[in-house]
Symmetry: C2
Subunit: 593 residues, 2 copies
């Protein structure tokens, strides 16, 4: 008997923080949030994608999976449990013996629709506010009940002061938002992706033919959500894909996305030409039964588009895109994904797997940005969006890639125009090609901008992009980098409440509340470590200066002195008024001394 593995994963509260749960109104929900406890003011509640792993009260047993959150699924009359497809050797890339990752120990019969669509979109159109919608709505408000002054430019996105469940429903019904939530992923804490909501980020994980194991991938998922990943894509490409995915899904409180084509290709020994609709279809069902929440489907890459890539500097850089292009060229046939798209929809609607329509022709270099190939595919993605919507499937659209700053806005505008406001989900984009090793940064620039312009979710890029497989540190760097880019976008959009965290941190900074400053940051551990490197003593964490200027020279301290001095002199605002009236400075104050 194989010993059941028990992967080591990271648990425990984030520094200075505690997990709180907000109740639902229409549904009995426990919506998780993170409260950052501060020494100088009231706690700040922030969005929390980290799941039970950061709740010291939760019992974590990876080999058992997370407890069910969506217990209401069991009561849904439109779903039926059934035995499900049998796992084949091909599902795990013919791994065997010691090379076979053990199956996840707990088996559960999959569910599917008894008939028709069981999607959040179908419910939304029917006027039903699902528990998932209420859950996502409560999360978006981050505990806010009051509105606060806002500025910003949202480029047409209509962002409410407070998100209601009805607003979520209406956005989904309009196709402007999705809740990726497969009915076979009951462990999920539902969340919403759309232009009117907080900008989300995705982290990619996945083993490859070259390296990494199940244990590493489960920990990468837990680690990525700890730092703020809103969804995780499992892009595994080697052996054991089926079993690794099971371990990930059963322990994932966030939506899990995949590119089913990768696994299908493994099943035919990596020979793109040998792919077929039947193998692909079987893979979709396999993954839908497991609970994958969204599928990247490269159905927009048509045979006729391929010649448009001939003069590109970097050809086709999407893995899915290049696989399909090779298949199309070899067979001299239209893509089977395009031809069978209606049937793909029929599967997705039966499990509520959301579409992430892949951009197989996204540019892989500055030179290829916004070219005819890219935009031809985007127009096709617009067609497919309509087909998916007709079948009540949820849809988001993938975008580039590599785009110089002056061409970013056109991407957002073309996407909105072609895809009728379906959420946009972009990879970066990288704004220059000349910094391998720093592509988390070259792409964070583009990501922040396109997020501001309206992209609903940003797929992270790690420092290892173009160079190697990200390790744990790279995953964290990628996630934090994208969290800050998404937040910069929220600020610029005028997202209500976004600035509360900046303001709290700035107040802590001004008042030398070092611990508060660390804990309000996206990465308290790194901030603390950097501070301690120069000024290690505990006493310095309450010092009214820092190592940049030293005690005599601190602008913040001088600024505080100035304020105190000014307040002593009867209040600066009054003095300013007086000055405007009399042209003299502080005359009254002087006289009062």
């Amino acid at each position: 008997m194989t010993k059941t593995p028990s992967p080591r994963i990271t648990t425990g509260a984030l520094p200075g923080s505690r997990k709180v749960y907000h109740p639902g109104v229409a549904h009995p929900l426990r919506v998780p949030m993170r409260e950052i406890c501060l020494s100088g003011e009231a706690p700040l509640t922030v969005y929390d994608s980290s799941g039970p792993y950061t709740d010291p009260g939760a019992r974590i047993a990876v080999a058992e999976g997370l407890p069910v959150v969506r217990d209401w699924l069991a009561g849904r009359a439109d779903l039926e449990a059934y035995p499900g497809r049998a796992v084949t050797e091909a599902d795990n890339g013919f791994a065997s013996g010691a090379r076979l990752t053990p199956a996840f120990p707990v088996k559960r019969a999959p569910r599917r629709a008894r008939a028709g669509a069981v999607t959040q979109l179908a419910a939304a159109r029917a006027g039903i506010i699902t528990p998932e919608m209420e859950f996502a709505a409560i999360r978006e408000n981050e505990g806010r009940i009051a509105t606060r002054p806002r500025d910003g430019e949202a480029f047409g996105a209509e962002i409410p002061d407070l998100v209601t469940p009805e607003f979520v429903r209406a956005e989904i019904a309009a196709g402007r938002a999705i809740i990726p939530a497969n009915i076979n992923h009951p462990e999920l804490e539902p969340m919403v992706i759309g232009r009117a909501f907080k900008v989300k980020i995705n982290a990619n994980i996945g083993n490859s033919a070259v390296t990494s194991s199940m244990e590493e991938e489960v920990e990468k998922m837990v680690w990525a959500i700890r730092w703020g990943a809103d969804t995780v894509m499992d892009l595994s490409t080697g052996r054991n894909i089926h079993n690794i995915r099971d371990w990930i899904l059963r322990n994932a409180p966030v939506p899990i996305g995949t590119v089913p084509l990768y696994q299908a290709l493994e099943k035919v020994g990596g020979v793109a030409e040998d792919l077929s609709w039947e193998i692909f279809r079987d893979t979709l069902i396999e993954q839908a039964e497991q609970g994958v929440d969204y599928f990247t489907i490269h159905a927009g890459l048509r045979l006729a588009h391929i010649p448009l890539t001939a003069r590109r500097v970097t050809g086709i850089v999407s893995r899915g895109g290049s696989i399909m292009a090779k298949w199309c060229l070899h067979h001299h046939r239209e893509s089977f994904l395009y031809e069978h798209f209606e049937e793909i929809c029929a599967i997705c609607r039966a499990y509520d797997v959301s579409f992430s329509l892949g951009d197989g022709l996204r540019p892989g270099s500055i030179a290829d940005a916004n070219d005819a190939a890219q935009f031809a595919e985007l127009a096709t993605l617009g067609e497919l969006t309509k087909i998916a919507w007709a079948q009540e499937c949820q849809v988001m659209i993938e975008g580039p890639g590599h785009v110089p700053m002056h061409k970013i806005k056109a991407n957002m505008e073309e996407q909105i125009a072609h895809c009728q406001d379906a959420p946009f989900y972009t990879l970066g984009p990288l704004t220059t090609d000349i910094a391998p090793g720093y592509d988390h940064i070259t792409s964070a620039i583009g990501a922040a901008m396109i997020g501001w312009f309206g992209t609903a979710m940003l797929c992270y890029v790690t420092p290892k992009e173009h160079l190697g497989l990200p390790d744990r540190d790279d995953v964290k760097t990628g996630v934090i980098t994208y969290k800050l880019a998404a937040h910069a976008a929220d600020l610029a959009k005028g997202h209500p409440g976004a600035q509360a965290r900046d303001d709290a941190l700035s107040r802590a900074r001004f008042e030398f509340r070092w611990e508060d400053q660390f804990n309000l940051g996206l990465d308290p551990d790194t901030a603390r470590a950097m501070h301690d490197e120069t000024l290690p003593a505990e006493a310095h964490k309450v010092a009214h200066f820092c190592s940049m200027c030293g005690p005599k020279f601190c602008s913040m301290r001088i600024s505080q002195d100035i304020r105190a001095e000014a307040e002593r002199q009867a209040g600066l605002a009054g003095m300013a008024e007086k000055f405007r009236e009399t042209g003299e400075i502080y005359v009254a104050a002087e006289g009062a001394e």
Copy 2:
């Protein structure tokens, strides 16, 4: 006798690169550039700020200083050598004995104007093309002689296909550009800062009361320019300021900037109230004689502006600004910098020290961005610009700070409006406050954008910002991050030639020329190390795949296969044409098989 120190500094060519020198036409010049040697195509010539340190043929002896580049200064009839001001104990913060950094061993009599202005602006207005102008012009072209197609949006900047010395002269004459080049800094390799030229970056170094030594600071300067810093500011604030600066200047091939107020404050024991015009004036002359190329002068912060900061979340965060505010409030007087600005100009014109008019009221948080205090000071900086120009002084203007994305463009527009096109020089700006430890990234987003909009030079921010003093690694990370941001801006502006490096790197990537890909990047060492972490073997550096996908699955390889296949089939472009005509794919090609 004190032993002369010999700081350890980093020398040697950058990977895969060699130093080349381009000659002048009007003047006998040797303008340094870096040639990146490639295995698959012709070498690429790029801008090179690293000085002789990356030239294996150069003799480097830190205690002797760099060889003179601007030998023409010796022949200028408008300059005179004179004994210069005697160094006082106060200049080094009263350091003595073992705590005194030894004086730089080589003494040279300073030069000054015999009369009037000896600035690049005075020459430019007189229609004279100086050697500095020709030097800077040649650098800007990076060896290009032909033009290439450009796109981009330059927001009114008129960027020529090729930079001529006359163009540099005209830009300087118009106040739109500066060449910071003190006549007492003959070691300088001249460079130009302006909206029509490549976006430049500055790195800050400097010891503080808390930590670091002369040896470290000289190495930080050499290290910063190795990775691409175009200018370096010495922001030292502790003891030994005078002597450390001498060591830095005598070894600096790039312009060195300072904030003279910092040293003046040290001279009065750190008590802002004790500052006086006399002490400040003496400090300006001290530093001008040493060869400082630009001074940050916070003369725009007026007494009347201070009340405008009363309701700010983070008050006054500029060190210079807070010192002056404290002085103004204490004495209830107008700033002595503002009142004596004409006299400051008289000093600057006699040595050609450029102004960097400081933004003492720049916002220190998202909450304070673009407020009345900031823009009131900016209007004053506009007044001062006119005064400085009237005295033929060169001027650039410092800008924020912390600004959310939607408020960045207004900063550039206000600056252009108030300061009549004088070059803008910004610190970031940071686009969110919530990521201490990652502020090189929060600010790179803002820096890339404001650089695109027209900022001429970007002051770097390191990961340690707000937390501690940057070490060597932080300096490198800050410089590389800002180089990529500046380059992203150049691309978006449509700077001629900028895309050549992206394209070369992308071609190398597509053709699996790993070594070329590393060497064309901003940080070849890090890129190589990251690649080797996953695939260490030398053989893998010629492999036609990488660790991301593995051998079977590589999109680039598949894409190459597709291209080869398509070319075999008589050319994709022709096929696309055929397809558009007939609606059939590859009919002709099939027939031809």
